[in-house]
C-alpha cells in the first residue's frame, strides 16, 4: 500500500530534476490535475518533469524506497481519468513531456525511435520527413504523446488497416516499478526469445512501469487517398458497404471506415462553426471512409454501392482541404455533444457482424429506460467499435441526467457482453471503468492479472487505484 510522501522524500525528488523539472505551484499544477472534460480532478504534492530516462529511474527508486505512489502522465488527453492523481493528494505526478526527442529514424528498417514525451503529430511528421507513414491517428494527435498512446493502447481511425498502438511497436525502453531501466529497444519484426514483456507494458495505463522510449513501426506513405462521405439507409447496409469497399479496393485498400448517425451530424452542423451537411439527401446513417485507391476505383465503388441499394447518396472529396473538412465533421462530434448538454458515453466493441443487432437492441433498451434520451452513436464501425453515446433529453437538468450514467451504461454493457463484446474498446479503464470491468472478467483472468501486477510492481506504487487491478 503506497503511503503519503514525507517532506524529505519530496526534497530528494526535487533534487533529482533540479528547478527546471519540478513544481508545486498551484497555477502550474492546475492544468495537469484536470482532464479535458473536467470529469476527473485530482491533487498532488509535486509535479515532476524529468529530462531523461536516468532521472525517471532515480525518481522511481526514491518513490519505491519510500513507498510513494506515482502517476505517469503524457499529454493528459486520456478519457478515463487514468492520468490524474487521486484526490487523496498522496501521489507524485511524473509528466514525460520533456523527454521528447525522436532519437533516430531508420528508413530501411522502417522504424523510428521516439521518446515517451514526443507528441503524436511530431512523430507522424518525423516519419513524413523520411517519406514514411506512422499510421496511428486520432483527434487528440496534436496533444497526446507516444508514452500515453502506448500506455492506453490507443486505437483511432486507422486500426482497420494497421491495428492498435500495440501492433505498431517493436521495442520499448521502460523504467520498471523498482527503478531499473529495461532497454528493450529492439527493432526486430521477428524475435521469439521469451515472454513478450513489452506487450504487458502497452495498454497497462502506467500501472506496471514507465515507458520512456519506443521503437515504432513505419510504413510506406499513401500515394493517393480518396475520401468519401456516404448516406446509408441502415446499419446492415453499413456492413455490406464495408464488404464491398474491401472487395472493390483490394487488399488493405480500406484505410478508415467510420459510421455517423444522423443526430450526430445534426449536432456538429448546429454547434461547430464552419461545418456543413455535405449531402443534399437526409439519411439515418452516414459512413465516412478513406480508401487508398485510384479515383476511378472510388467512383466504381460508389456506383456499385448505389446499384446494390447500399447507399442513397455520396460525395467524394476533390482535394486534401475538402477531405479535411469531411474528417472535421467526424472529429467534432464530441465537442458538439458537449455543447448540447450532458452526455453519457460508452466506448464499446462487438464482433463487427453483431453491430446491427447490438445497435437495435441497445437503442431500444436505453430509450425505454430514459424517455426522450437522444442517441448519438458513431465510431470505428470497421473495428466493431462504437462510441455509443447519449445526449440528454432536451430541457432535462444536466446533473439529474448525468446521475443516470451508471444505470444507462449497465444496460448497454449487458447487451454488449451478450454479444461477446467489450465494455471498454479503446479508451481503457482508468478510474472510470474499474468496477464495471471487473464485473465481467472471470476469476481466472483477474487472478492472472493480479499476479502480473504483483510481479511487476510488488510495492503497488505505479498508478495506484487505476486499471482493473
Amino acid at each position: 500500500m503506497p503511503r503519503p510522501p514525507d517532506q524529505a522524500t519530496l526534497e530528494r525528488l526535487k533534487q533529482i530534476t533540479g528547478p527546471a523539472g519540478w513544481s508545486d505551484d498551484p497555477d502550474t499544477l492546475a492544468p495537469h490535475l484536470v482532464e479535458w472534460r473536467s470529469r476527473y480532478q485530482g491533487k498532488t504534492p509535486l509535479l515532476l518533469k524529468p529530462a531523461n530516462t536516468a532521472e525517471v529511474a532515480e525518481i522511481v527508486r526514491v518513490c519505491a524506497a519510500a513507498e510513494v505512489g506515482i502517476v505517469p502522465q503524457g499529454g493528459n488527453t486520456g478519457l478515463v481519468g487514468a492520468q490524474i492523481p487521486r484526490a487523496s493528494g498522496h501521489e507524485v505526478l511524473v509528466n514525460l513531456s520533456r523527454i521528447n526527442r525522436v532519437r533516430s529514424v531508420d528508413p530501411s528498417n522502417n522504424t523510428l525511435i521516439a521518446e515517451a514525451g514526443c507528441v503524436l503529430a511530431a512523430v507522424q511528421q518525423a516519419a513524413a520527413e523520411h517519406d514514411r507513414l506512422f499510421p496511428l491517428s486520432l483527434a487528440a494527435e496534436g496533444s497526446c504523446q507516444i508514452g500515453g498512446n502506448l500506455s492506453a493502447n490507443a486505437g483511432g481511425i486507422h486500426v482497420l488497416r494497421y491495428g492498435n498502438s500495440r501492433d505498431l511497436v517493436l521495442g520499448l525502453e521502460v523504467v520498471t516499478a523498482e527503478g531499473e531501466i529495461w532497454d528493450g529497444l529492439r527493432g526486430l519484426r521477428k524475435d521469439n526469445t521469451g515472454y513478450d514483456l513489452k506487450q504487458l507494458y502497452i495498454g497497462a495505463e502506467g500501472t506496471l512501469g514507465i515507458i520512456t522510449a519506443a521503437v515504432l513501426k513505419l510504413f510506406p506513405r499513401h500515394r493517393q487517398v480518396e475520401t468519401a462521405f456516404v448516406a446509408v439507409p441502415s446499419p446492415e447496409a453499413v456492413l455490406d458497404l464495408l464488404s464491398l469497399a474491401r472487395e472493390v479496393s483490394g487488399d488493405g485498400g480500406v484505410l478508415a471506415f467510420e459510421m455517423i448517425s444522423r443526430f450526430a451530424l445534426d449536432l456538429v452542423v448546429k454547434h461547430v462553426a464552419g461545418s456543413i451537411d455535405p449531402l443534399a439527401t437526409r439519411s439515418p446513417w452516414y459512413v465516412l471512409c478513406d480508401l487508398t485507391v485510384a479515383r476511378a476505383t472510388a467512383e466504381t465503388f460508389m456506383t456499385q454501392a448505389l446499384d446494390h441499394g447500399l447507399i442513397a447518396d455520396a460525395a467524394l472529396a476533390g482535394s486534401a482541404a475538402q477531405a479535411a473538412a469531411l474528417w472535421k465533421l467526424r472529429e467534432s462530434i464530441s465537442e458538439a455533444q458537449k455543447r448540447e448538454g450532458g452526455s453519457i458515453k460508452n466506448d464499446v466493441s462487438v464482433p463487427v457482424s453483431h453491430i446491427p443487432d447490438f445497435i437495435r437492441q441497445a437503442l431500444a433498451a436505453v430509450t425505454k429506460l430514459v424517455p426522450g434520451i437522444r442517441p448519438v452513436p458513431f465510431g470505428h464501425v470497421g473495428d466493431g467499435n462504437l462510441h455509443f453515446n447519449f445526449s440528454q433529453p432536451a430541457g432535462m437538468d444536466q446533473d439529474a441526467y448525468l446521475a443516470r450514467w451508471e444505470e444507462v451504461s449497465r444496460v448497454v454493457h449487458a447487451i454488449v457482453v451478450a454479444h461477446g463484446g467489450s465494455i471498454s474498446a479503446e479508451h481503457g479503464i482508468g478510474v472510470a471503468k474499474r468496477e464495471e470491468a471487473r464485473r465481467y472478467k472471470s476469476a481466472v483472468e483477474l487472478d492472472l492479472m493480479r499476479r502480473i501486477k504483483q510481479a511487476f510492481d510488488p510495492k503497488g506504487i505505479m498508478n495506484p487505484g487505476k486499471g482493473i487491478i
Partner: protein, 273 residues
C-alpha cells in the same frame, strides 16, 4: 449566360515538396485543382443556377492546359456541375503566364463566352498574372480579387466587390469581362445572378463537393482534348525558370531569460529596433 473558367492543376499543397538539383521533384505528388480556380467554378455554377440546388440555366465550360492526366481534375469539376471541359495538351515546364494567356485568348475566341472567371492565382507558382494578361490582350474589362459578384438581370454588367487595404471597393463592370476571384467568393451570399436567383438566395459557405449523381452525370459530359497548334497559337515563352532552391532551413531559436535580454537582442543582434 456562358461562362468560361480556366483552371490549373497544382501539387497537393499539404505535401512537403522535395527540391533537388535545382528542380522540384514532383514524381510522388498527388494533384488537385488550384483552390482559387475551384472557387471560380463554384462562382460560375452559382451564376447559372436558380438558387442552391436549383435548376441550372446557362453553360459553364472549364478549360485547363496540362498533361493528359489533368483530365482527372477536369472530371472532378464536371462532377461538381460544369457542363463541358476542354483540355489543351501542355506541360508546365514549357508554359509561362504569357503563353497561358495567349492559349486562353484563342479558347475565348472559339468559345465566345459572356464571362471568364478564374482564380486570382495558382497556389504553386503564385504568379497572379494570367487573368490580367488575358484581359489586356482581349481588350476586355478586368475585375480582380473579387469577393462578390452580382450579375445584373439583363446580363450586360455585374456589380463586384474586392477587398483592398482600405476596405471594400465596389465597382461595376461591363460584360464580357475577365474576373479573378479571391477566397471570400464562396461566402453564402457572395455570388448571384439577378435574372435567376432571388435576393434571399443562399448557398453553403464553401465550394460544392462532387456528389455521386454529379460523378455519374460527369461520365456522359464532353471532355475535349485539343492541342496548342490546333488553336493556332505559337509556342515560346518569355519567362524561363533557371532553377528552384529550397528556402534555407530555419536556425534554432534561443530562449531569453528576461524582457531586457529580449530587447537587447532585438536591438544589438537582430537590429530591428
Amino acid at each position: 449566360m456562358k461562362i468560361l473558367v480556366p483552371c490549373k492543376r497544382v501539387p497537393n499543397p499539404d505535401l512537403k515538396l522535395k527540391v533537388a538539383n535545382g528542380s522540384v521533384d514532383l514524381a510522388g505528388t498527388t494533384w488537385q485543382v488550384n483552390p482559387f480556380d475551384e472557387y471560380a467554378v463554384e462562382a460560375a455554377l452559382r451564376l447559372t443556377e436558380k438558387g442552391k440546388g436549383g435548376e441550372r440555366v446557362g453553360e459553364v465550360v472549364v478549360v485547363s492546359i496540362g498533361p493528359k492526366d489533368t483530365s482527372a481534375q477536369l472530371k472532378q469539376l464536371l462532377a461538381m456541375g460544369a457542363n463541358r471541359a476542354i483540355l489543351v495538351a501542355g506541360d508546365d515546364s514549357a508554359l509561362d503566364s504569357d503563353l497561358v494567356a495567349r492559349i486562353l485568348r484563342a479558347v475565348v475566341a472559339a468559345e465566345k463566352p459572356d464571362l471568364v472567371i478564374t482564380g486570382k492565382q495558382a497556389v504553386d507558382g503564385d504568379d497572379n498574372q494570367v487573368g490580367q494578361i488575358l484581359a489586356a490582350s482581349l481588350g476586355w474589362p478586368q475585375a480582380t480579387f473579387l469577393a462578390s459578384i452580382l450579375l445584373a438581370a439583363d446580363g450586360k454588367s455585374a456589380t463586384v466587390t474586392r477587398e483592398v487595404d482600405a476596405g471594400v471597393e465596389e465597382r461595376r463592370v461591363r460584360l464580357p469581362a475577365i474576373m479573378t476571384v479571391d477566397l471570400r467568393i464562396i461566402g453564402k451570399k457572395a455570388v448571384r445572378n439577378e435574372a435567376l436567383a432571388p435576393a434571399t438566395a443562399e448557398w453553403e459557405d464553401t465550394q460544392r463537393l462532387a456528389s455521386l449523381k454529379g460523378i455519374m452525370a460527369a461520365k456522359k459530359k464532353e471532355l475535349r482534348e485539343i492541342t496548342v497548334e490546333s488553336l493556332g497559337v505559337a509556342g515560346g515563352i518569355l519567362v524561363k525558370t533557371l532553377r528552384h532552391e529550397a528556402p534555407p532551413a530555419r536556425k534554432a531559436g534561443v530562449k531569453v531569460a528576461s524582457v531586457e535580454e529580449l530587447v537587447a537582442k532585438l536591438h544589438n543582434e537582430a537590429k530591428v529596433i
